[in-house]
Structure formats: C-alpha cells, structure tokens
Symmetry: C2
Subunit: 202 residues, 2 copies
DNA sequence: ACCTGAACACCGTTCAAGT
DNA sequence: ACCTGAACACCGTTCAAGT
C-alpha cells in the first residue's frame, strides 16, 4: 500500500493515466472504473479525486494522449508522402489503420460522451481542430485557386466521411458481407470525393 | 403496484419498451437503467428479466424501433424526390435531420456497444443492411453502366460518410467554428462524391 | 498535508420465497 | 404461474478521520 509522500502529485497523476490507459487497452471502456485504476496504482479511490475532478476529466486526458498518438502517425504519413494526391489517400488510410490497431483507445474518444454539464474544454477542441488543419495543409496545394474557406469545408467533409466509415467498420455495422473490404470503401470515398473536389468549379 | 396476471407477457414487453423509449428520449443513454424502466412500468426489476435476457437485449429492440422510424423518414424522402440526383442529396439530409430531431434515440444506436460475448444478432444486421439497399436503389439508375457491386461500395462509402459527419456534428467534434454550417459540409461530401462517382470510369 | 476507508446513492442481475 | 424483494457484486463520488 502506497504511503503518503511516496509520490509527488504529478507522479500520482501520471500513474493514474498510465493505469487507466492499460485498462482501456486491455478491456475497453466498459472495463474501466475509478476503483480499478486506484487498485492498479496501489492507491485508494479517494486519491484519484484529489487529482482529477472526476472520471470524465481523467478520460479527457487519456483521449488527448490518444489524439497525440494519432497525430504522430498522421505526421509520419505526411512526411512519407510528399505528393499531395497520394498523401490524402494515405492520411485517410492511416486514420483507419490507427483505429484498427488501437481500437479500444480510439473508441474511447467517441464512446465517452462527457456529461452535459461539462462541455468539451477549449484545449481539447483546439487539439481536434489541429487534425483538420493537418488535412487542410495537404488539400490546399491541390486546389490553389480555391479559397481557404472551401478547403476548410472539404477537410471536414472528407475527414468526417472517413471517420464514419471507420466507425461503422469497427463496430461491425457496415455490412461488408460481400467481397468488399473496408479499404475499398474508404478508397471509393476519397477518390470520388477528390475527383469532384479538384475538378469542381471554384 | 401491478399484480400478477394484470398484463400478458406481450403487454409487459411493450410497456417495458415504451417506458425505456420515454426515458431515452428525455434523458439519453446515461439516464436509462433497468430499475427506472421497471418503476416507470409499475413493476419490479426482476420482472424485466422474465421478458428480456438482459438490458442489452431490450436496447437492441429499442434500436430496431428507431431504425424503423428512420427508414420511414427515408421512404417518405424517396417518394418526394423522384429525380435520383436530388434524391441522393435529400436522403443524406434526411439522415442528418433525423439524427438532429431524435438525438437521444439515434445516439443510442451507436453508444450502445453490445457486450463482446453477444454479437449483433442476424435480424438486426438484416435491418441495417436494408438501409444500404434503399440507397443502392436510388444510386443504380444514375450509373446504369456500373455493376451492382460498385453501387454497393458507393452506397457504403456515401452512407458511412454522411454518418460520420452527422456523428461528429451531433457530438460537437466537427469544429464548425467558422461560418460553415453542417449542411454545407454534408452537401460538399454528397456533391463531390457523386460527381466523381457518376463521371468515373466504370 | 496526504491519504484512507467507510459511507451514500446508485447500478445489472439473480433467485428463493410469497400469493 | 407470476411477480416480488432482498441479496450479490459492483459502480462514482464525498469526506470525516487517521497518521
């Protein structure tokens, strides 16, 4: 049993996040509980509430960490694909791949609908917005004549689309009973959208 | 307090589903519990487990009812839009509108990730598949030269896309901080995808 | 000051016991 | 046969009390 002053506040905080992440990866959202996190850390439940306002706040931080991991993958994908046309498709596939390889962590970002009273904090929204920015930077060179506002819409349309297909695929609701693989569907969305977008009237 | 034989098994079943739906509409997934459903019906918790295997099964039936309501709206949309081009867009908007007007019921279909041991039952998958069929029937006349397999992929790409944008919008993760309305983003997806799809090589 | 552990108000699910 | 209600094993969250 951990004694007082064994760990600093920051250490406890990190231990909690690490324990929670471990549980999520292994057992998913439903397997997570404050008591399990505490046990895993070697502390009591009460201690968690000295560090975090509630479980929602802890999960929010977990999700931010997941977003960082996702963005890192996306960053690598951008570097590896200097040609913008290929890069858009690669980014979309990277998103799907990330969701498949990190299902529980990725799912947590969407399963966790924070309680109505506590809206999404600004710093989290900012992190989400950064993802769109990443895509916008790849899209803009492809349609130099278009205004940033149009690219902004395109990034959201495309990203939302990829997200939806990924979500349905991961939760087994895409009805891919035939020969179609999810990748085929993803590529169809990206290719056809991009064709329409690039050739479309400004 | 309800006494034995006051209601038939089917009546109790319907009372449970009605009570649950009422709670969901008012308070969402987090506000739902077996005890609340039972209280609302005027029965004891135990009674619920004479009718349903568990809460997951009850929710599955609720979701089927929601799907029916959604398909009814989609059916009306198809009837009102005989021109296929317009119809695709109208259907996608109808999906978004349904999600906005029935947020809690619609959310339940995706918040509720049934426990791993109990996979999605066949009769539910069949209902989901029907939604894709509806869209396929509208898409096919637009690309008469294309094979059904391609239309099948297109339906999933488009529908998944619309679903993703809707989901992100409803849960406030689309970052529509600028002037862009969600409808603009939806239309961008549909228009550009369809342009690419219709003009694309078979 | 730091942490505990018991308490409160909830859960889903089961099942012996009542009518 | 139908339904109850108490029990079991869990929750998130709080806070007086200990060291």
């Amino acid at each position: 049993m951990a004694r007082r002053s064994d760990h600093s506040r920051d250490e406890i905080r990190q231990m909690a996040l690490d324990a929670a992440e471990k549980i999520i990866i292994q057992h998913g959202y439903k397997g997570l509980s404050a008591r399990k996190i505490a046990t895993d850390m070697g502390y009591t439940v009460g201690t968690l509430y000295l560090i975090f306002k509630n479980l929602d706040e802890l999960i929010l931080h977990l999700n931010m960490h997941t977003l960082d991991a996702l963005y890192e993958q996306m960053g690598i994908t951008v570097e590896r694909n200097p040609a913008p046309e290929k890069c858009v498709q690669a980014l979309c596939r990277a998103y799907y791949d990330f969701a498949c390889s990190n299902t529980h962590r990725w799912s947590l970002m969407f399963e966790h609908n924070l309680s109505e009273d506590m809206g999404i904090p600004e710093w989290f929204s900012a992190k989400v917005a950064y993802g769109f920015t990443l895509l916008e930077r790849v899209l803009q060179p492809l349609v130099k004549e278009k205004k940033p506002a149009e690219v902004c819409i395109a990034a959201r349309a495309l990203w939302g689309g990829v997200h939806g297909i990924t979500m349905l695929a991961v939760t087994d609701k895409l009805d891919v009973s035939g020969v179609n693989s999810v990748t085929e569907i993803l590529d169809s969305l990206v290719e056809n959208y991009m064709q329409g977008f690039v050739s479309g009237a400004g």
